[in-house]
């Protein structure tokens, strides 16, 4: 289900030609649209190639329903972090503390639930609040104190890691309540008659397709209402079919195993939510504006400090969520949890199209970048490549992705 939304955001890229689009060939239009979002389509294609490569290499094991489920669960926390990280990087900042903060929230969760037996929903809310506060503290120093985010979050990285070890006294704490484990590891409940497929997942998938089709048509009609050029009907339909096929494939894959993991739903909601906010909400625009040109944004009346502060609060909350999912998945809070997560999330963002100087990137890109890393991890595990070589290969992929971007920009002409 993540591919469905995945394909959604780049697709409505508005039509290029102002005048006579009718004369151009369909292929030309498709290529035009792709060139405009070169980075994202490039990575989407790269992701497809990587999936295909490992699917062949593992004799199809990669795409077994069970493995697809696993892939989602294994990477959920990195994907959650990557979405928040993308916002931070678009705004022109960086957050090195999220790995430590993930571990810290895990330890808080253990203190709340294992040591003090709080009901898990209460503990979850408390943990998210602690994450928000941790983010707020860092955000305060960055936005209002004017200390570079690299420094503040580098300090945070040390502080949260240290506090984790203090809270856990170097021990691993567990187990967590069953309810929480189900959220992190479980699937949607089984309902209805036996169809050999997971009914609720099927239903959800079909609903999703219907929703996407409805949205696309509504969007098209709205554009026409405003007398704006719309892409030709055949291109539009082609896009709809591609979207529908992608959703359907993933739905069938998941439905033929245990159904959609609950974490996947959380991811989907976050992706759609953040994607919408970044594209359509005023605050989203303001984030791009301060990352693209801070002085100009200030002179345009953007409340840059407040926006920066909120971005870090948000990052803190997402780190808390990732910490909860991670702790619940392994059913223990460990002082070594979340090691290098910040680097994975940052790498995912840059693979997915972020720029060091800020102002560029999409939440969807972060997900694509995260999936590239995730599929690489999973695929290499399946074919038995050791973690030593895995790191080398992931490093090369990061270098290649950003290198491609730089090369492509240079070719287009600055």
């Amino acid at each position: 289900m993540s591919t469905d939304v995945t394909a959604k955001t780049p697709a409505p890229a508005p039509p290029g030609k102002s005048g006579g689009a009718a004369g151009d060939g369909l292929l030309q239009l498709v290529l035009d649209g792709m060139r405009r979002n070169m980075r994202q389509y490039g990575m989407l294609i790269a992701l497809g190639l990587i999936v295909a490569l490992f699917a062949v290499w593992t004799d199809g094991d990669l795409l077994l329903p069970r493995n697809v489920s696993n892939l989602v669960l294994q990477n959920s926390y990195i994907l959650i972090l990557a979405m928040g990280m993308m916002l931070v990087i678009i705004a022109g900042h960086i957050d090195l503390s999220v790995g430590s903060l993930t571990a810290f929230i895990g330890s808080m969760a253990a203190v709340f639930m294992v040591k003090n037996d709080l009901p898990w929903p209460v503990a979850v809310i408390l943990c998210l609040a602690v994450g928000a506060i941790a983010g707020a503290i860092q955000g305060f120093f960055i936005a209002y104190g004017g200390i570079p985010s690299f420094i503040v979050t580098l300090a945070g990285m040390l502080i949260w890691r240290g506090l984790t070890e203090i809270f856990l006294e170097g021990q691993t704490l567990g187990p967590f309540p069953e309810g929480l484990q189900k959220v992190a590891n479980g699937f949607l409940p089984e309902v209805g008659p036996n169809t050999n497929y997971h009914n609720l997942t099927l239903l959800l998938g079909f609903a999703m397709i219907a929703f996407v089709v409805f949205q696309e048509f509504r969007d098209r009609r709205r554009q026409q209402e405003f007398h704006l050029d719309v892409p030709p009907l055949n291109l539009f339909l082609l896009k709809l079919v591609a979207l529908g096929a992608a959703i359907l494939t993933l739905t069938m894959l998941l439905a033929s195993y245990k159904g959609a993991p609950i974490v996947l739903l959380i991811l989907g909601v976050l992706l759609v939510g953040f994607g919408y906010v970044m594209r359509n909400a005023i605050i989203g625009r303001h984030i791009y504006a301060i990352g693209g040109n801070l002085p100009a944004a200030k002179l345009s009346g953007v409340k840059d400090k407040k926006v920066t502060f909120l971005i870090f609060v948000n990052m803190g909350m997402l780190a808390a969520l990732a910490g909860l999912v991670f702790a619940a998945r392994f059913n223990a809070a460990s002082p070594k949890a979340g090691l290098n997560f910040e680097l994975e999330a940052i790498a995912a963002s840059f693979i997915g199209g972020a720029s060091m100087s800020g102002g560029v990137g999409t939440v969807l890109g972060a997900i694509i970048g995260g999936l590239v890393l995730g599929v690489l991890n999973n695929g290499m595990n399946l074919v038995g490549i050791g973690t030593d070589w895995q790191q080398v290969i992931k490093g090369l992929v990061l270098l290649a992705a950003v290198g491609f971007d730089v090369w492509n920009k240079r070719k287009v002409g600055s």
Binding site: P14, R285, A289, L299, G359
Partner: protein, 516 residues
Amino acid sequence: MAGPVLEMRSIVKTFPGVKALSDVTLTVQQGEVHAICGENGAGKSTLMKVLSGVHPHGTYEGDILFEGEVCEFKDIRASEHRGIVIIHQELALSPFLSLAENIFLGNEHAKGGFIDWRETLRHGSELLRRVGLSDHPDTRVADIGVGKQQLVEIAKALSKKVKLLILDEPTAALNDEDSGKLLDLILELKKQGITSIIISHKLNEIRKVADSVTILRDGKTIETLDVKAPETTEDRIISGMVGRDLENRFPDRTPHEPEEGAHPALEIRNWTVHHPIDQQRKVVDDVSIEVRRGEIVGIAGLMGAGRTELAMSVFGRTYGRHAGGTVLKDGTEIRTKTVPEAVKHGIAYVTEDRKHYGLNLIDTVNRNISLSALGKVAKRGVVDEHEERQVAEGFRKSMNIKAPTVFEPVGKLSGGNQQKVVLSKWIFAGPDVLILDEPTRGIDVGAKYEIYTVIDQLAAQGKAVVFISSELPELLGMCDRIYTMAAGRLTGEFSRAEASQESLMRQMTKDKEVSR
């Protein structure tokens, strides 16, 4: 004069999708100052990049002959080796290195890989003297003004044994005094046998220093004129650049009749601002100005007069430390402590530096236009993209913004079109008072006229316009009233009838020495 030193024959340079140069021929005589002018996008900078090897041999068609030999430069070093040095519009000095270190950067006096400081200092100070600078070679570049930095660039060129010096809009960032010095230096170098090519928008400069001028338009050479010939007038050059006879450089304007009794739209009283770092220094000193609806009021002043500082400190205190004064809108005192407050009270400030303070260059036209008034195309915090696009399309047509679509990144547009985007952005915010800071800086004649027309229309719609400019002709052509500033103080106020270049300049240079 011993024949041509440089000949560029039928140069064609194509970028993906754009033919930047389509048959340019340029002949520069030995020992002359040769001006190149043309509208933005005419291909001036591209031509110089071809000449200096930024675009290496093989990426363009045509021949370059320097001192009679065919040259095939593969990079800048190759052209510099032959004595062709280009000084770009944006200065390329390292701010925290000394003058001498900058002069010899990449070309150091060294023994076995270590800097020879004695020789660096000796030669450095010699070169600095040659360009008329008395600063110590150990001074940091960051500690001298832009005008002097430009001269350091020339010293750097001299260190490379320059034969052909190319200056790309060298006076764009300089005040009149520094510009004058620079132009004198170019003439001085000419006496020493150095040939110069100067790219400039400023026709009076061309008249002052150049021997001949080549006019480019749409990537083609239009003509080469002898500047000293009597028939080469400014209007003649302008008509060559724009390809039409420019009868009037300014739109016909019915002067504003101030209505009796009504309060001014904006009134600034006794405004004083201190320098943000050196807090003893008054950058704006007890300035009071007013502007009425429908009126265009100019503020003239040399660089450092405090015009921009006045405007920015009023607009959300975005410059310096406020030390007194009030702002009144329609007779009532208002707070303009933050930008959102100023915008709420209907004030807009269009910056002089559109690239750094006006636009998000990597974002699209439509998103730049809507940024300062997103609330107008949004409901409950959610932007209606279609409405936004429609608004932007409207401005694209009405302002004649030359962009293929409103989804074009602003950074890809020419300066004039970027300026139109900044103006659109603030017109869309719907202000009552517009403060325009150098709205026509660095843009070509045709686009200037379009911008003047827009300003005129804004005033006709009843907006109050404050027009800050260094170009006196445009203030005289556009304004109903003109204030002059010098060294942070208001030094004069002229009606349209009273003002002349001479009278304004006298007030603009008043007391300058005393306050320094």
